[in-house]
Amino acid sequence: MEQVFARPKCMSKTPFHYCPGCDHGVVHRLVGECLDELEVGDKAIGVAPVGCSVFAYDYFAFDFNQAAHGRAPAVATGIKRVRPDHIVFTYQGDGDLAAIGTAEIVHAANRGEKITVIFINNAIYGMTGGQMAPTTLIGMKTATSPYGRDAQLCGHPIRVSELLATLEAPVYVTRVAVNTPANLMKAKKALKNAFRLQKEGKGFSFVEVVSICPTNWGKSPVDAHKWLAEKMLPVFPLGTYKDSTGIENS
């Protein structure tokens, strides 16, 4: 019988620890598939964040660095400068990247570090137990915004892709989701574009994945994906914000 689906070669056999329905596992697999298809699985070095994906290194078979909270782009900078022939990527959540690590992501992008950043935006801190993130929607209730996020008190959700797209150096900035099969296929294409650009030495590539957190949102995975489409996508519109090399049209 023909095998039509298998674990990507660059991934390990460790079962995911993520909550049922979580998008992390899906995005991990897409990363693995893209690296395999580009034949760079043996040349990849990942940088894990602090957050739910702190153990991302467990699920890949290649070298990994586990960075401090928010510092993954700086750590990746150090690695890539020493190993320019490797494919170096960070995998970060919204607290890690858009709060404590704001300086690191903005400046790594602005320097045009030849790395790829995968940004999981699910509008909440997962690992620490559902606190308000910089991307939490207005009115959204979390452990630290029990009355709903108040713009007067906490400001508005940060749109990181739009922000980074204003910079000169990044070559590719795009926002995707994995909530439907169609979106998932687009997300995979975006990830592959991002890694291909790095492989070709083109520059900084950034893929934001609007994701769910069923556990901390207090929703079933199905409801969570519905909520994502209804509430999150209007605030975080999918699309490509920067594509200097025109890779999406090539």
Binding site: F64, N65, A67, A68, R71, T77, G78, A103, E104, H107
Partner: protein
């Protein structure tokens, strides 16, 4: 033999780093260490290295973490407030056992303080500074020659023990010029460490991981004891092993009735004080720790049996004096004289203190 060159201390560190095979520097501007990044910004591209001015001290130390994990000899430098910011990264680097060299050209604190020379970061340097059960080696040069030599050694020590090594300097040593005989160049290859990320060196099996997380309490305890045992090895090497020559310098202590203790630039002033004391018939000696962690406790403990008293002199309100007291262990009185806030004590005022102790009436 190569000629000596007249160099600033900060520049000597920069050149010695290059000679040690360091090809990566990540830092952020702060006075009074600016000559060092300026030197390396010019020098590293000449040897196909990377000088990168980071967006913050925090980013810089994390770039160091990344570069060290990828197998490079890498350095960062800063001055007191900047080194405070680096502590998070230093804790990770120590926990992950990554080798690197960190230079602190100490200035007056706390807070923004001032840009004048000080020794008020002794505790931060020797106690760890960041969170967790860890140690960093701390070398304390007292001349421009030693700024070069100790920086060169720092890279060797960092690799040998897979540990961050701190070079603790101050604004005077950084800015002063003295003749330097530059150390011999090292040959270094980023692929010589089998544990490094992306290395082509033969691995022990599977992939390489650089991490500090051990959620399982038993694993973290095991890791911490492993680190502790490594620190014990380092301590022994400095106390009685192959690194003994790098631990401490003594001067005129054999018959000393009063032993002065100081490190860094202060030890130079104390040497003048000892000479002046001897001319006046006061039997003074000097103990100068060259390495602050591990601390040369045994040398002081041995002297406690012979001498009458100790006088510790620092450019702080008294930090290293605690280590001296621990070493002397109450056997003889340990006195302290300090100037702080960027003030450097003169030989005359120290001499005056010695006089008061030796001739109490």
């Amino acid at each position: 033999m190569a000629d000596k060159v007249l160099m600033k201390g900060n520049e000597a560190i920069g050149e010695a780093a290059v000679l040690a095979g360091c090809r990566y520097y990540f830092g952020y501007p702060i006075t009074p260490q600016s000559e060092l990044p300026a030197y390396l910004a010019r020098r590293l591209p000449e040897v196909e290295g990377v000088f990168l001015q980071a967006e913050s001290e925090i980013a810089a130390i994390n770039m160091v973490y990344g570069a060290a994990s990828a197998g490079a000899r890498v350095m960062t430098s800063s001055s007191s407030p900047g080194v405070s910011l680096k502590q998070e990264g230093i804790s990770y680097i120590a926990g992950a056992e990554m080798p690197c060299v960190i230079v602190n050209v100490v200035r007056g604190g706390p807070g923004l303080g001032n840009i004048s020379p000080a020794q008020s970061d002794y505790w931060q340097a020797t106690r760890g500074g960041g969170h967790g059960d860890y140690r960093t080696l701390v070398l304390a040069p007292n001349s421009v020659q030693e700024m070069a030599d100790m920086t060169r050694h720092a890279f060797e020590l960092a690799d040998r023990f897979r540990n961050p090594v701190l070079v603790l300097s101050d604004g005077i040593l950084g800015q002063m010029m003295e003749p330097v005989l530059l150390p011999e160049p090292a040959t270094y290859d980023i692929n010589q460490k089998p544990w490094a990320l992306g290395t082509t060196a033969p691995r022990k099996g599977g992939r390489n991981l650089c991490s500090t997380i051990f959620l399982d309490v038993e694993l973290l305890e095991e890791h911490n004891w492993h680190l502790y045992q490594k620190y014990q090895v380092i301590t022994d090497e400095f106390a009685k092993g192959s690194l003994k020559h790098m631990a401490v310098e003594t001067h005129e202590v054999e018959d000393a009735e009063i032993v002065l203790v100081g490190y860094g630039i202060i030890s130079r002033i104390l040497k003048t004080v000892v000479e002046k004391c001897r001319k006046r018939g006061i039997k003074a000696g000097l103990v100068r720790p060259k390495c602050l962690w591990p601390f040369p406790s045994q040398v002081l403990a041995d002297l406690a049996a012979k001498t009458k008293q100790f006088l510790v002199v620092e450019m702080s309100c008294g930090q290293m004096v605690e280590d001296v007291k621990l070493a002397v262990d109450g056997k003889k009185p340990v006195y302290f004289f300090g100037r702080t806030g960027g003030t450097v004590p003169s030989d005359f005022e120290i001499l005056n203190e010695v006089d008061k102790l030796v001739r109490p009436d």
